[in-house]
């Protein structure tokens, strides 16, 4: 199947729609805001259900704790702000009040990744996956486009139990998956078959990975593309099979290489099917201001750059004795 861009939209817009749909389907859903409800997409819900929306101001630590209290009171709270704040400023509150109590709290992380752009390093969440996936009991979702963000948000809220972190971005990106692609939490999606190597990606980078695979095909390299929309619990079998069947994996993410998707994949690969991996992401540094395309270019995250780097690594491996 060839995926086409059906019109670019942001994953935050998909999140806002998924939250609203959940609110329509269940009266127990409540949303918490930390002043930036319009830019996180929460305003859709807040406008429709003002009685179930609580503005808590620029006070994220309290916000995470209030969410825990609402869950203890039988509600399904969704606490959303920029990922740098919702996943990291509140880390201890999420660890103790939410996770240690094993509460079904959905934490939305907006403006994740380097593609946030001009706001610069303080607002570019590049460590949230590493931090959130290390917490006991926490599920971590990272949808690849607006449609998947909407579907996964609804599932995170209504179908999951325990704490869930869902990460999404600011920029409009190609909306390509569509309703017909079945999205099941914990189940990786093979978006493109291939037997020479596998590109494993998440979030906005999945579209770039598909582009890279198309470029690699012109060089005779048949790349499988896997979308990991659920980073935890991760689909072990999809990764083991990719390692067994293709023998070379490249992980691609808008996140620090240390601790992110690549690390999650490597944890499985080293114990099950040790194969060579190329881990692509942010190489242990802060971001900076710039247009999203400029920043993706700086870190080699555009499809053309990815194809060049992956082909080189793949050929190097082939030339090794």
């Amino acid at each position: 199947m060839i995926y086409r861009n059906k019109g670019s939209r942001s994953t935050r817009a998909g999140f806002g729609e998924g939250l609203l749909e959940s609110g329509i389907l269940s009266g127990e859903v409540v949303a918490l805001g930390a002043d930036i409800t319009a830019s996180t997409g929460v305003n859709l819900f807040a406008t429709q259900y003002p009685g179930r929306f609580f503005s808590l101001g620029i006070a994220e630590q309290n916000g995470a704790g209030v969410a825990a209290g609402l869950a203890l009171g039988g509600k399904i709270p969704v606490f959303t702000t920029y990922a740098v704040f919702s996943a990291m400023r509140t880390l201890d509150q999420i660890r103790v009040s939410v996770c240690y109590n094993n509460l079904h709290v959905v934490i939305g992380g907006a403006h994740a990744g380097i593609s946030v752009g001009p706001d610069g390093a303080t607002h570019q969440a590049l460590e949230d996956i590493a931090v959130m996936r290390s917490l006991p009991g926490m599920s971590v979702f990272s949808p690849c486009d607006a449609t998947q963000a909407r579907i996964l948000t609804r599932m995170a809220i209504l179908d999951c139990s325990g704490p869930v972190y869902i990460r999404f971005g600011r920029e409009a990106v190609p909306d390509f998956t569509g309703e017909e692609l079945e999205t099941v939490p914990g189940k990786a999606q093979i978006l493109r078959p291939g037997n020479h190597l596998t590109l494993i990606s998440t979030g906005h980078m999945v579209w770039e990975a598909l582009g890279a695979a198309a470029i690699l095909a012109r060089s005779g390299i048949n790349a499988r593309v896997i979308n990991i929309h659920t980073i935890k619990p991760i689909d072990r079998m999809a990764i083991i099979e990719a390692a067994q069947e293709t023998g070379f994996l490249a992980t691609i993410e808008e996140h620090q290489v240390e601790g992110g998707l690549g690390s999650a994949v490597a944890e499985i690969v080293v114990s099950e099917v040790p194969v060579r991996m190329e881990m692509i992401g942010i190489p242990g540094c802060f971001g900076e201001s710039g247009q999203p395309a400029e920043l993706l270019g700086k870190f080699g995250l555009t499809s053309t750059q990815l194809a060049v780097r992956i082909e080189r690594a793949f050929r190097d491996r082939e030339n090794q004795p």
Partner: protein, 281 residues
């Protein structure tokens, strides 16, 4: 009279369980025994035989390190057998060093131990109760040093903003923390004014006088406009007179010899309290 005896019974349990554990927080646990006794034996709506009753009043121990006073009170109230207190801090116990909800000890509403988080949970519970049209009260218990955490004041702002009068916060004002006097480690005064300026109904009492404590709880429950805070003035180590107001006993447990001595002191203190009480009445 009975409440005084009960609070000393709880103090005795605290000493015994801490001596058995070999570590834990003695001073603050002893200091809060009267507040806990008044709360569980004369104030809250609860049923130890049905700890999951949706309409029960909630008690959140935000200052999780004084877990011994919570455990001892719960067992004295009948939530579980007193003998289980001697598993405190031991491997496999439901009585973790700090309260752990996942161990399913009856009466534990929330895990705690990282200071400053309980008041936010109380705010969330109060908002949920309002949406559910439930009228129970929520008591969150804090140390005075704990108020140095910024999250407390974020939570205080939000409780007043939403006029959550179902909340009664209790501050154990013993003036001491691990490094020394609170006003030297990081001054909180004027504490009454701080809470009042955040929009709270501020009440103060002698935290060892049951009549005063209960009068505060009653006044708090009658306020329908604002959350209430009770500044309970206590002595760390109350009842064991050789360690009263000695912050070295914040995080230390008595050894067996000390425990025997402390239990004797508790007996003497109880007798003095009872005779003082008789003189008054």
């Amino acid at each position: 009279m009975d409440l005084i005896k009960t609070s000393y019974y709880i103090r005795g349990l605290i000493i015994k369980m801490l001596a058995s554990a070999g570590s834990g927080h003695t001073g603050g646990s002893l200091g809060l025994a009267d507040v806990f006794t008044s709360l569980y034996f004369n104030t809250i709506n609860h049923n130890p035989d049905n700890p999951g009753d949706p309409l029960r009043d909630r008690v959140i121990l935000s200052a999780g390190h004084v877990a011994p006073v919570l455990y001892a009170t719960l067992s004295a109230a009948g939530y579980f057998d007193v003998s289980e207190l001697f598993t405190l801090r031991k491997f496999g116990s439901r009585l973790q060093g700090h309260p752990a909800r996942d161990k399913r000890l009856p009466g534990i509403e929330t895990s705690s131990g990282s200071l400053g988080q309980g008041l936010s949970i109380a705010v969330g519970m109060a908002l949920a109760a309002r949406l559910n049209n439930q009228n129970f009260r929520i008591y969150s218990i804090h140390g005075d040093g704990e108020l140095q955490e910024g999250q407390i004041w974020e939570a205080a702002m939000s409780a007043a903003h939403y006029k959550l009068s179902a909340i009664t916060a209790i501050v154990d004002c013993n003036g001491l923390q691990i490094d020394g006097p609170v006003d030297r480690v990081m001054n909180l005064s004027p504490l009454r004014d701080k809470w009042a300026s955040f929009g709270w109904n501020v009440l103060e009492c002698d935290g060892h006088n049951h009549n005063e404590i209960q009068a505060c709880f009653k006044l708090a429950s009658q306020n329908t406009e604002a959350p209430s805070v009770v500044l309970a003035h206590t002595k760390m180590g109350k009842g064991v007179y050789t360690i009263e107001n000695d912050n070295r006993w914040h995080g230390k447990a008595p050894n067996p010899e000390e425990a025997t001595e402390f239990l004797c002191q508790l007996n003497e203190s109880l007798k003095i309290e009872l005779s003082k009480n008789q003189e008054k009445s």
